[in-house]
Subunit: 330 residues, 2 copies
């Protein structure tokens, strides 16, 4: 019998669909206030399954959830709702878990966040809102997405989800990745080592959605920004550590890039006195680019599918190689 | 020899490409301050061609341009950069012109304006900006475009340009038009007479991009809004007269629709004391949804193409039937 640790709202949504497994799992729920519940009663369990999704990580439940996991003797299967593994918290879980499955279902949500950022920048949303606030019937010129060139660092699940949308809208997409496999969602694929200053300078928008590794730490530094086109947009949905934030603030003052729309920062939550909050060239969201109800539903489905597979000894979707947690440079 | 009346900036952009016609046209330019210029010198002309584009209508030149046209004995060919004909100003020009050509090249720009409106509403842009303004690292949930249903009134050039984008993004599109011809850019086509309250209630976003006629006057009234879904978006890029604005403001207070993003109003420019400016549920732009540099370039090309065709006695693109101006119900 497995304890099955999950957020109490996740449990409420899925209770009917967990019932078929009631002879093999005993739900343990965590509430936003950190309360532990056993909605189906106590059961003698000698093993543990856990589901760490947005309900857990984006709420007050995170602490109690982690504490429960760390205190447990073992962790047989962990279903994450995140793609990234380099977070120290997930590293610790990954080291403990016998089986760890990641998730890429947030890609569609994150891609929509990127399109929102692009539409608001090229659509000159700020000028439109300013004109309305001033009650001025004023011409606001803007730019069509189909005329824009995008350089997308990291052309995996997220990069391709963004590229698919942009290509559909008629934009030009260059994807940066190690694999030289062509993609239907990019006009060109370029190896990270082959990205020249010229390549960066041709982009109207540069998006970072690559993982944080030793190689990508401070990828966007002063030189990188100096190569960017005047009037261009910089966007980051990867990790804060990809960016030299001091260099970014200086670069914005110099107009290259003209604007930064970012969902991740080096320190999260970002301290209230950090200049990124108030710089007029920065649009900032709180690492919430995946926070859609659709994304939650897809993660629910993935969890149920993998739970069933795990209990029946079948192969898991997105099973992560244990080496990923032994070796930090994933 | 034809006088060729156009904005002085349009002339500057196109001078080199107008040169081949210099034996048949004599440019007459209008500046933003209303000054008339003859950059190639005076010439004995007995006929008139004019190009009324965004440079003219969205600047101080409009008045002098109109005055020049009205005072002229004749108007042989008028190239408009607008699709609509029902504007009284254009009606007057249309009645005078021997040949009048319209333009649909703004559709791509307007479609991007609509996508901007959609992304900012479903992406919860206002809440994101409010969180940043408060320096609060806060969860902002949002909705993916691919999960949204759109009802598009008027499924011609603009409607199809919007539908093409939305379909590419995975949204569900219902187009409303008289012609029952299927479209690759809509899941369904519905006749205006067959739009039920239920149909309206299923849409997460309703867009008006139909012309203003007797039938469409006040199309969006109290009953229409009452049928809309809670939390939905209403958008108008057609004409202000399609909407009962008092009913819209009441409807917003009642939450159906939850938001209105509109580019057109009954009175334009909208008076500074009009409640649409400040209602928290309204995003308003100044009839500028077509104002892109790409749109200007496409109109330049159309003008040059039609100018050449006109001078060579060839068929014009987008030639408007003279009856359109005799009969107002176009």
């Amino acid at each position: 019998m497995y304890e099955c640790l999950l957020h109490h709202e996740t449990f409420s949504r899925l209770e009917a669909r967990l019932k078929p497994f009631s002879d093999r799992i005993s739900p343990v729920t965590v509430s936003d206030s950190g309360e532990i519940g056993r909605p189906w009663g106590e059961a003698a369990c000698d093993a543990l399954i856990a589901h760490g999704n947005a309900d857990v990580w984006f709420s007050g439940a995170a602490r109690a959830f982690g504490k429960y996991l760390y205190a447990a003797d073992r962790l047989d299967f962990f279903q994450s709702s995140a793609a990234g593994l380099e977070n120290p918290f997930l590293q610790k879980i990954g080291e403990k878990a016998q089986a760890y499955a990641s998730s890429h279902v947030q890609s569609d949500a994150i891609a929509d966040w990127v399109l929102w950022a692009g539409y608001d920048w090229f659509g000159n949303g700020a000028a439109r809102r300013a004109a309305q606030a001033a009650k001025e019937w004023r011409n606001v010129h803007f730019r069509e997405i189909q005329s824009t060139h995008w350089l997308i660092y990291g052309f995996g699940h997220i990069g391709e989800a963004v590229g698919r949308r942009l290509k559909g809208l008629g934009a030009h997409v260059t994807g940066v990745r190690r694999s030289d496999q062509v993609s239907p969602f990019a006009d060109r694929i370029v190896h990270p080592n082959d990205v020249s200053a010229d390549e960066i300078g041709q982009a109207d928008a540069v998006l970072l959605c690559c993982p944080h590794t030793e190689e990508t730490e401070n990828l966007a530094d002063a030189d990188f920004f100096a190569a960017m086109k005047e009037g261009s947009l910089f966007s980051n949905v990867g990790r804060g550590a990809l960016v030299d934030e001091a260099a970014l603030l200086k670069a914005l003052d110099a107009g290259r890039p003209a604007h930064a729309t970012i969902d991740v920062t080096r320190e999260e939550p970002l301290p209230a006195d950090h200049p990124l909050w108030t710089h007029p060239g920065v649009t900032l969201t709180a690492h919430t680019s995946a926070l859609t109800s659709e994304s939650r539903k897809r993660n629910d489905e993935l969890f149920l599918e993998n739970l069933s597979a795990f209990l029946n000894g079948e192969p898991l979707r997105n099973l992560v190689d244990a080496k990923a947690f032994a070796d930090q440079s994933v």
